[in-house]
Subunit: 144 residues, 2 copies
DNA sequence: GTTGACGTTTACGTAAACGTCAACTATCTT
DNA sequence: AAGATAGTTGACGTTTACGTAAACGTCAAC
């Protein structure tokens, strides 16, 4: 039933450092119980940690994650939590799609630049330093 | 010929703040001349700023940009500059493609989560608080 | 009785790329 | 002469997600 975990149990399972888990507690994302000084995590804590990490993968800040988690904890205003989480998710989706466009654009530019660089280097290799070089250099300067 | 620009000229043209341009100078990415205290930028400085901003768009750090720019300024070891820039570009390309995969993955997860959230909300809207809700909540908890 | 593994706390450090003052200085305009 | 407008130089603040060090407790194993 009430399975419990030590901090390193969770750290290893989720491949984070114990420091990270303590940090989340410090930021009030987790509130494990104590046995004396030691932290004891239950299934619920484990689930929360999992949610935190998933949130991070999706690019949410810890603050945003905390907010959504807190809303969930109100236990009853669940609808609000769902609505907020839905909205945040939609916003995040828009952001991600925008980022993807930027990255695609950057990849295109970069590939072009690489072609130009290779061309310039080939020129350099073939002959010495003359006007050809300078045109190549100008191209590079313009594209890098 | 020797066109010159004030700091706000460049700031406006490239849509950055003057502070940003001074910051680049502080980091030795730019070295405009002075007339008294005032900075005076020439065509060369303008070109460098453009390169800096392009580098940033491609996701290079200022340190990396500086390095490539400095190599270019040696004026003669050009081949080295080309090689270094080429290598950095190729590395950056690999990174970007990796990031794109991550983003695509996140987008997929997020879309799934959104569907689940919408479903859960629809359920909430239709009926009160019962086991159906809890199953929906569990789904959300598992997917958000 | 000591070694090692694991735990604790507090608190400062890091990286990146600027933003945001504060307090001047210099020049142009009215 | 007084503003208005632009420019300057420090120096500290911001953000995020932890890392790292110091200094110590606890417990089982050898």
């Amino acid at each position: 039933m009430g399975d419990t975990y030590t901090i390193t149990d969770l750290a290893e399972e989720f491949r984070v450092t114990p420091r990270t888990i303590r940090f989340y507690e410090d930021k009030n994302l987790l509130h494990p119980e104590r046995q004396g000084l030691n932290r004891v995590y239950g299934r619920r804590d484990r689930a929360r940690l999992q949610l935190i990490l998933r949130g991070k993968r999706l690019g949410f800040s810890l603050a945003a994650i905390k907010e959504m988690l807190d809303l969930y904890d109100l236990g009853d205003g669940q609808v609000e939590q769902l609505r907020v989480t839905l909205r945040r998710s939609q916003e995040r989706l828009v952001e991600l799609e925008s980022q993807r466009r930027d990255i695609n654009e950057a990849i295109r530019e970069l590939k072009e630049g690489i072609v130009a660089l290779e061309k310039a280097l080939a020129d350099k290799g073939v002959n010495g330093h003359d006007r050809t070089d300078e045109r190549a250099a100008a191209r590079v300067k313009a594209t890098v």
